[in-house]
């Protein structure tokens, strides 16, 4: 059973008199432990697809089973609790609460699953340690560099041991050296056996993934599942 199984999901937005087909009839299957890049130009629907996979939005039609469970028709509260338990989000910075320390930011998903304080602290510290920021746990976000902030976000995304980690342009606001560090971290997490989906328009990000899905006008136009190595044509 795949971790993610969508069958013909679509999401349309009305825009004036026309309708934007952000995601159109996408059927996608993701196995546990995959590292996937969803790429495409801006407006190709990749962010909408991520929001659909992350249960932030409901598809207009189609089916979506996460870990074997049909999730489209569940009510908002149950979808919220699935988000806090099974999905880790990595948004573009600034994605941290400015008035909370690094540690408290990492704890946030656990707050909403009702985890006890001591356990929350322990798991948040472990996640921060995993991204190499154990010594920064009591810093405020504005005391951290962009790369460090993004690591905190990554720690937050994996603090619940989610089945699926979704990242939206995780290196969008970072310089090339820092983004390389972040991508290495993703590869480490992938080696740990985590399932990661990265949405990006940057080729150097997509190249690090094990599988690349290309969207155009809301449709999958390419699904490069075969090789685990870089496709030869992507080498500059």
């Amino acid at each position: 059973m795949p971790l993610v199984q969508t069958v013909g999901i679509s999401k349309h937005y009305p825009s004036g008199k026309t309708i934007i087909r952000a995601v159109s009839n996408v059927s996608l299957s993701i196995e546990r432990g995959e590292f996937i890049a969803i790429r495409g130009r801006s407006g190709s629907g990749k962010s909408t697809l991520m929001n659909l996979l992350g249960l932030l939005e409901r598809p207009d039609c189609g089916e979506y089973a996460l870990d074997g469970r049909e999730v489209v028709k569940l009510n908002e509260d149950i979808r919220a609790s699935i988000r806090s338990q099974d999905i880790g989000f990595i948004f573009q910075i600034p994605a941290l609460l400015p008035r909370a320390t690094a540690l408290e930011n990492v704890e946030l998903p656990l707050v909403y699953t009702g985890t006890r304080h001591r356990e929350r602290r322990r798991r948040a510290e472990r996640a921060l340690d995993r991204v190499g920021l154990a010594d920064r746990s009591h810093h405020w976000p504005n005391q951290l560099s962009g790369g460090e902030q993004q690591r905190v976000v990554i720690a937050r995304a994996m603090v619940n041991d989610p089945a699926l980690i979704l990242a939206d342009e995780p290196t969008g606001a970072l310089d090339s050296r820092t983004s390389d560090e972040i991508l290495s971290l993703f590869e480490d997490l992938h080696r740990d056996g985590r399932t990661i989906v990265v949405v990006t328009h940057a080729a150097e990000v997509a190249d690090r993934a094990q599988r690349r899905i290309t969207l155009h006008d809301g449709r999958i136009i390419e699904d490069d599942t075969a090789s685990k190595t870089r496709a030869p044509d992507s080498v500059p």
Binding site: L56, E76, D77, A80, R83, P94, A95, R99, G114
Partner: protein
């Protein structure tokens, strides 16, 4: 999500904008301060009035002699012998519920002691009068029946007399003169303070009624020696009648305090409502400012009710904070007013609880809409919000 966690989040949000939070709760502060101050001052004033009534003597009524018209000129009351000791005895004997009927005969007389002199009311009484007035002795003793019968030249003096004639040292056995008649002090009365008319009740000398009639007042008044000024009657508590007495003057003063209370209630209600509106305003601003935060929280699993709860707690906390500061301020003001007016200081804990409770109610009612707005945000839209 744990309620303790919500409290921490709310407290932090408020701490970040200290000045803004302080300005926001100003309305609540004023409202609650007004309520607490009003109730406390009202209670103090009421206690003061009750105390005054108590010093007059509760359940006291006074029988005055009728005045007589003589050739169109209204003569001073008491100019005719219309009220006598026999009347007092008759009242005591024949009217049910009368505990004491105390006759009194008085006049302002010059007092002389050593090289000091003083004008004061000299009243002939029997010991029933002090019972009727619930007036205690500070030192010394009451008239004995022998003294009453023999028209002895003994006196019980009020606190003001002690100051005026004896320089504060109330010595039993001291002698002084009323007019030309020498008297011996046998007792000093407790201080009563101001009476209903605003005059000191302690500026008085009591002598036996018999002495007053035969040796002091009867002679100078030029009327019959039997005439009395009035009879003070103390009745037992009874439900089938009501007594109009000097205490009513004070009750009327209590009414003034009530009008003041109504005014303060109006001020309090207006500022609590204004306070509620400013809380609502700031909470709406806060929801807008923190749209991205709300989106983030929702993305990592906050349910709508978690968000609603978070903002509601924040509004409630603001209001309660204002309530607490207001209660403190109101209590301080009440103490200051009571101090200035010489009232007993009575801070009602109920007023504080009630006012803070109402502030909390205002916080919740006016926080509901902003919290609802926050909870209804679409996480996607909220996350994209810059």
């Amino acid at each position: 999500m744990s309620s303790l966690g919500s409290l921490q989040i709310a407290a932090r949000a408020l701490r970040v904008n200290k000045l803004r939070s302080a300005l926001t709760v100003l309305g609540i502060v004023v409202g609650v301060a007004a309520v607490v101050c009003m109730v406390s001052v009202g209670a103090g004033a009421q206690a003061e009035v009750s105390e005054k009534i108590r010093t007059l003597g509760a359940n006291l009524l006074i029988v005055m002699p009728g005045a007589q018209n003589s050739g169109g000129a209204r003569l001073e009351s008491g100019t005719q012998v219309t009220l006598t000791e026999d009347d007092a005895a008759a009242i005591r004997g024949e009217v049910v519920d009368v505990q004491v009927a105390a006759p009194l005969l008085s006049r302002s007389m010059p007092l002389v002691a050593g090289n000091k002199n003083w004008m004061a009311l000299v009243a002939g009484i029997n010991t029933d009068y002090l019972v009727a007035r619930e007036w205690q002795m500070a030192s010394g003793r009451l008239f004995t029946s022998a003294e009453m019968d023999s028209a002895a030249k003994v006196a019980i003096v009020g606190a003001v007399i002690v100051e005026a004639l004896f320089e504060g040292r109330a010595r039993i056995g001291e002698t002084f003169r009323i007019g030309n008649v020498p008297f011996t002090v046998i007792g000093v009365l407790d201080k009563k303070g101001l009476g209903a008319a605003g005059r000191s009740q302690d500026d008085i000398v009591f002598i036996p009624l018999s002495t007053a009639k035969s040796r002091v007042l009867g002679a100078v008044r030029g009327t019959s020696r039997e005439a009395l000024d009035f009879i003070s009657i103390k009745v037992s508590d009874a439900d089938d009648f009501r007594i109009e007495n000097p205490a009513d003057v004070l009750t009327a003063r209590g009414a003034t305090a009530r009008i003041l209370s109504i005014l303060l209630i109006a001020v309090a209600s207006v500022s609590l409502i204004v306070g509620g509106i400013s809380i609502m305003n700031i909470m709406l601003v806060s929801v807008t400012e923190r749209t991205r935060e709300i989106g983030l929280r929702m993305a990592v699993g906050a349910k709508r009710r978690d968000i609603r709860w978070q903002f509601l707690i924040e509004a409630l906390m603001l209001a309660l904070l204002g309530g607490l500061v207001g209660a403190l301020l109101g209590a301080t003001a009440a103490v200051a007013i009571a101090w200035e007016a010489g009232w007993p200081i009575l801070i009602s804990p109920w007023a504080i609880i009630l006012a803070c409770g109402f502030a909390g109610f205002v916080g919740i009612s006016f926080g509901l809409y902003p919290a609802h707005r926050a909870a209804q945000l679409d996480p996607i839209v909220a996350l994209r919000f810059e």
